[in-house]
């Protein structure tokens, strides 16, 4: 499945000393224990100078074979449905003299960096090079909906606050009943004196606020006019 656009000319020139590149995918246990599970649409692409472009499909032994690669600097990318593979730079350079074979070298390369910024060296060979590339990640296509989660729901601060106050409301009377009389008296004393809940406390004042009287221009009353025994009860 070689896409030969302008390749024929280049090939003719280099037919005598064609460079062969073999890329294999080894088993890489946590991510891809068995490379033979890769779908047959997995393919490798070598992008060379304008017009030079090779595309080969995966073989039975999980390799990609580029039988003859012309002299140039290439970007090698592996495309698979389920995995990411790191991009590589592959250079096929001219032999020193006619009798020798071309040199193939491969490095990791980094997208968005200048082309000369090479990463780890993957290997080099004369006339032939075998590379191993491991997948760098699995493709996660799906977004889970944030479904209803009872633990997460209970953990949220609002629910926690509501629960604590529920415990206070329902639990306090029993707690008070079970207290021995001295502690109870002490506690009641403490409540009276506290600025928030005591009879002269802010909360009580607000609760017993006489809106009608205030609107009528009366001064703040001591709260005796408030109706409803439940509100002014003292415990």
């Amino acid at each position: 499945m070689l896409s030969l656009s302008h390749l024929a000319l280049l090939l003719c020139a280099n037919l005598a000393s064609a460079a062969r590149l073999t890329v294999s995918i080894p088993p890489s246990p946590p991510l891809l224990p068995n490379p033979s599970t890769l779908p047959p649409s997995t393919h490798a692409v070598l992008v060379g100078p304008p017009g030079v472009h090779y595309d080969v499909p995966i073989r039975r032994d999980s390799t990609f074979v580029f039988p003859d690669v012309a002299e140039a600097s290439y970007l090698l990318t592996l495309h698979s449905r389920d995995y990411f593979f790191p991009p590589l730079r592959v250079d096929v350079s001219k032999a020193a003299d006619e009798s020798q074979q071309q040199t193939i070298q491969a490095w990791q390369t980094f997208r968005g960096n200048e082309w000369d910024n090479k990463g780890p060296h993957y290997g080099s060979g004369k006339g032939e090079l075998q590379l191993q590339i491991q997948p760098s990640g699995h493709k996660e296509f799906y977004q889970e909906r944030g479904g209803f989660n009872i633990i997460g729901f209970v953990k949220s601060p609002m629910i926690l606050m509501a629960l604590v106050s529920a415990v206070m409301i329902f639990g306090m009377p029993y707690l008070m009943d079970n207290m021995d009389p001295e502690t109870k008296a002490e506690f009641e004393e403490m409540q009276k004196s506290s600025p928030l809940t005591g009879s002269g406390g802010a909360a009580n004042q607000i609760q017993n606020f006489d809106l009608a009287g205030w609107m009528a221009g009366k001064g703040t009353s001591s709260g005796s006019g408030a109706s409803g025994g439940g509100n002014s009860k003292k415990r």
Binding site: S41, R60, H79, G112, F141
Partner: protein, 927 residues
């Protein structure tokens, strides 16, 4: 209420735009297609020799090799061998008996593919077009269990016959066919390899030259000419060069189809048979069906087809004396027929598929072993169109002397590929859609009738309108009983969340749009986007000669109507829902004609010319050495909700909005540069231009323009310290870059691009992307309020990705973190690389191969845009770039809501007496 409002921009900023688990496979649909299968390259074959299960293999006209599961018609695997192939490309597919590979030959490549999983076993470039591939079924004795070798015939300047090792693809021997004869086919018997080439005589007639080769060494053992008479004028009347049978044969007819001549390969004798005439009609087509196995009986069937009927004759080859004799004939039946050959041990069976029945006969005698009637093929076809079988491949299961079952994969005249099991259709693959060249969305005609009625009421006088309305409502009342009856079911389904989307008539969200596809072979096929499992209608709209190419364009001029036009003909309109052809007299919209002036664009001498009222207004001439690659105008229907961009501090940047914008791309092949221009299409002014050097102009350059922004992508070569790879450029046009300032336009209420030449301020950003983009599109919604998504087709990953605009935004700050205000807008710091998040893959795990174009259409819901991608595969989905804010999606848990209400109700009833008691108690205690 406040909380969700704050949450929305936060969510938008994150990369949460994704395919949800519960929506994947449900809202999207995909036809994994192969293209029109060819008779010669389709067969049943067992991928694993030890098991009986077989797959259907085919190498289609579109150059796609695939394996189909005969049980459900699903693609097991496929490989695109030659992108952009057509029926003209010669292609071959062979499978050896008991082999686990299939061997393909197309273009200049011979390759072996693992039959079970579709991985390549080997491939070989044969330095010339492949003319034929055969498998050597030699009984060597040495490697009987190993892979069988292949023989390949290649053309070009030096025609070659090569024997390829079955395991590695290495060339074992090659034989050069000298001379100027055109190589035609290769064939093999148990003892010899035959190469057949066509020799042209001085008078222009063809002679068949048979070269016999030794299969072990490749040396020539014999060579002779056939057909001394002037019968063969073209290669088209050669019926077959049979292969891989006990006695391969060559058969041909004269151009009038009056005589059939048969030669047993390796001998010089020619048997001649008169083709009898039926009803005085000329025989249009002669086909020969022979078994493909060495050890099967050497019987063959010849199929004759006239315009209205077909019949067949079965011949036997006597191996001892090398004679061919007619055994029996199958009766003439009207219509077209398809014959297929299957073998079981040495026995040969012929299966005949006609529009009414399927029957199987043995090659030995004319007794019918199995006969099943066909009650229709269960595919959509045009009004009054007779569905005919074109060709078939069959798998026969034989029990004793009778045929117990027969499965036939039949290509129909509608372009569907169906499997008939004992005469009843099991599955159907709409392969005609694989050659879609143009497509459009159209709203269903049912939806339009209400619109028309309302319009009628609006335009008539009040009394008439009132009567019309009352009668319409009375008419609607007739549907009330059925509606009430269906109500309980609807409610239950609504609770359980199992409610299937209703039909077209009850579509309130606009998801049921009709997609009309014009195919390469002159058919118009409609699919309902809301119910894509079935083709709605399918009919022949153009009568094309074989090999004739048309360039149709499909559009929807108004709701419920599809218009198809091509260069040769004016538009013909069809009803979108039924496919009925409408009157070809087009209503003329007077209002539109008076106000708008048309600007026409034509390519002229490599430049672009715009004319208004037949006078040229402007020219665009690319500089020397440049050619125009593409011109992408702003979509006609491109609503914009806001004329400005609101910044984080509530100030506004005004967008440069002009309905007459276009993005023009030119390429310079010599300088390897690409230039991108934003043009005003009325005045011809260049509003923005940019040159990129080191561009691979032979790879696709995708471009797109919408609203006030444009984008393009290309593959760049490393120059100096620049990176190599694929790049995506985004540009946004503003009236001014100062907030709250409209620049020169601030003082004018109206403006014309003919008079004032205001130039936009353009911000651009360039990003590195991991792979090439072959086509771009943009989502469209009804009002344009929803944010847009760039849709990019990735050919290498076989995917369509939806890139949120926030990722591409050219206003992303460089070298600094975004300020508070920018954060509020959702801007993030610029990074030069955009990695396509797999969650952006709209096709998720599906592989959408060979997409040529993507079209989008707004749904009735503002949040939703419909997408349809075509090319080889058909893929469609619904997109909500800003989430489904106006509809309760699947994420809305109805059960949870009901449970909460119920829990609250229970709590109220339980707590109420408690509270009551407490209040009573407290009063008593206080007193």
């Amino acid at each position: 209420m406040f909380l969700p409002l704050i949450a929305v921009p936060l969510l938008l900023a994150g990369s949460a735009l994704a395919v949800f688990t519960d929506e994947a496979w449900n809202v999207d649909y995909h036809y994994a297609l192969l293209g029109h299968p060819k008779q010669s390259t389709s067969f049943f074959h067992q991928p694993n020799p030890s098991s009986r299960a077989s797959l259907i293999f085919t190498l289609s006209e579109e150059g796609v090799l695939g394996a189909i599961n005969p049980r459900d018609g699903a693609v097991v695997w496929r490989q695109v061998l030659l992108p952009g192939a057509s029926a003209h490309n010669a292609s071959f597919l062979r499978a050896g008996e008991g082999q686990d590979v299939v061997i393909s030959g197309i273009g200049s490549q011979v390759a072996a593919w693992s039959a079970g999983d579709g991985r390549q076993a080997w491939s070989l470039d044969v330095n010339g077009p492949v003319e034929d591939v055969e498998i050597l079924e030699l009984v060597d004795g040495k490697d009987a269990s190993g892979a069988k070798d292949a023989v390949a015939l290649s053309g070009g300047d030096h025609p070659l016959v090569q024997r390829l090792d079955g395991a590695t693809g290495a060339v074992k021997w090659q034989h050069q066919l000298g001379g100027t004869d055109a190589p035609y086919q290769v064939s093999a018997s148990t003892t010899e390899v035959f190469a057949i080439s066509l020799h042209k005589t001085i008078l222009g007639y063809l002679k068949l030259k048979v070269t016999s080769l030794d299969p072990v060494t490749g040396h020539k053992t014999d060579e002779h000419m056939l057909s001394s008479e002037n019968e063969l004028a073209t290669a088209e009347t050669i019926v077959t060069v049979g292969a891989n049978s006990a006695s391969p044969i060559i058969a041909w007819t004269d151009s009038a189809h009056s005589v059939l001549k048969v030669n047993i390969m390796g001998t010089k004798g020619i048997s001649s048979f008169e083709i009898e005439k039926h009803d005085g009609q000329a025989v249009e087509r002669v086909e020969l069906h022979a078994p493909y196995h060495l050890n099967s009986l050497s019987h063959f069937l010849v199929h004759y087809q006239t315009a209205t009927s077909h019949w067949a004759e079965v011949f036997h080859v006597d191996l001892k004396n090398g004679k061919v004799g007619k055994a029996y004939s199958l009766p003439k039946l009207s219509g077209r027929g398809a014959f297929s050959t299957s073998t079981s041990d040495a026995n040969v069976y012929f299966t005949r598929v006609t529009r009414n029945e399927v029957m199987t006969v043995s090659s030995a005698s004319h007794g019918i072993l199995g006969r099943w009637s066909v009650d229709g093929f269960n595919v959509a076809a045009g009004e009054g169109e007779e569905i005919e079988p074109i060709h078939a491949v069959s798998d026969v299961s034989v029990r004793g002397d009778t045929v117990s079952a027969v499965r036939s994969a039949v290509l129909l005249s509608t372009g569907d590929w169906v499997l008939l099991r004992d005469g009843s259709p099991v599955w159907d693959r709409p392969e005609m859609l694989a050659s879609t060249v143009s497509a459009t969305f159209a709203s269903p005609a049912e939806m339009e009738t209400l619109v028309q009625q309302l319009e009628a009421e609006a335009h008539s006088n009040p009394i008439q309108a009132y009567i019309h309305r009352v009668s319409r409502h009375l008419h609607d009342l007739q549907r009330l009983p059925s509606f009430i009856l269906s109500l309980p079911q609807k409610i239950v389904q609504g609770f359980l969340g199992t409610s299937a989307d209703g039909g077209i008539a009850t579509d309130s969200f606009g998801f049921h749009q009709i997609i009309a596809c014009a195919t390469k072979d002159g058919r118009l096929v409609a699919v309902d986007a809301g119910n894509p499992d079935k083709v709605l209608w399918n009919q022949q709209v153009a009568d094309l000669q074989p090999g004739q190419i048309w360039q149709p364009s499909v559009s929807s001029p108004r709701g419920g109507v599809i218009e198809i036009s091509s260069k040769a003909s004016a538009g013909v309109q069809y009803n979108a829902s039924s496919g009925e052809q409408l009157a070809s007299i087009l209503p003329i919209d007077l209002a539109a004609d008076q106000t708008a002036q048309e600007v026409k664009y034509t390519m002229h001498d490599g430049g672009l010319e715009a004319t208004v009222d037949s006078s040229t207004t402007w020219h665009f001439m690319p500089t020397s050495g440049e050619r125009i690659v593409s011109l992408v105008p702003r979509p006609v229907n491109d609503p914009v909700a806001s004329i400005g961009k609101v910044l984080g501090d509530r100030r506004v940047l005004y967008k440069y909005l002009d309905p007459n914008l276009a993005l023009l791309v030119t390429a310079n092949d010599a300088a390897r540069a690409a230039t991108f221009y934003v043009l005003n299409t009325v005045s011809g002014a260049i509003l923005y231009s940019n040159v990129h050097s080191g561009v691979d102009v032979s790879s696709p350059i995708a471009s797109m323009l919408s609203e006030n922004w444009f984008t393009y992508s290309f593959t760049a070569e490393a120059l100096g310290d620049s990176p190599k790879g694929h790049q995506l450029v985004v540009g946004e046009l503003f009236e001014s870059l100062v907030a709250n300032d409209r620049g020169l336009l601030s003082s004018t209420a109206n403006y014309s691009s003919m008079q004032t030449g205001t130039e936009p301020f353009t911000l651009t950003k360039i990003y590195q992307i991991p792979e090439a983009v072959s086509k771009m599109a943009v989502t469209r919604t009804r009002q344009g309020i929803t944010s847009r998504q760039l849709l990019a087709v990735l050919a290498d990953s076989s995917a369509v990705v939806g890139i949120p605009y926030g990722v591409l935004d050219p206003r992303r700050p460089i070298n600094r973190d975004p300020s508070k205000d920018e954060q509020a807008e959702g801007l993030v710091r610029y990074s030069p690389v955009i990695d396509f998040d797999p969650k952006w893959y709209l096709n998720h795990q599906r592989e959408v191969v060979g997409v040529k174009d993507v079209i989008t259409s707004p749904a009735l819901l503002e949040s939703t845009s419909l997408l349809f991608a075509y090319g080889l595969d058909i893929f469609g989905t619904r997109l909500s770039p800003s989430f489904s804010f106006d509809v309760l999606g699947k994420d809305f848990n109805k059960f949870q809501m009901l449970a909460t209400v119920a829990a609250l109700a229970v709590a109220t009833f339980v707590v109420a007496p408690l509270v009551m008691r407490k209040q009573v108690n407290s009063r008593w205690q206080f007193m």
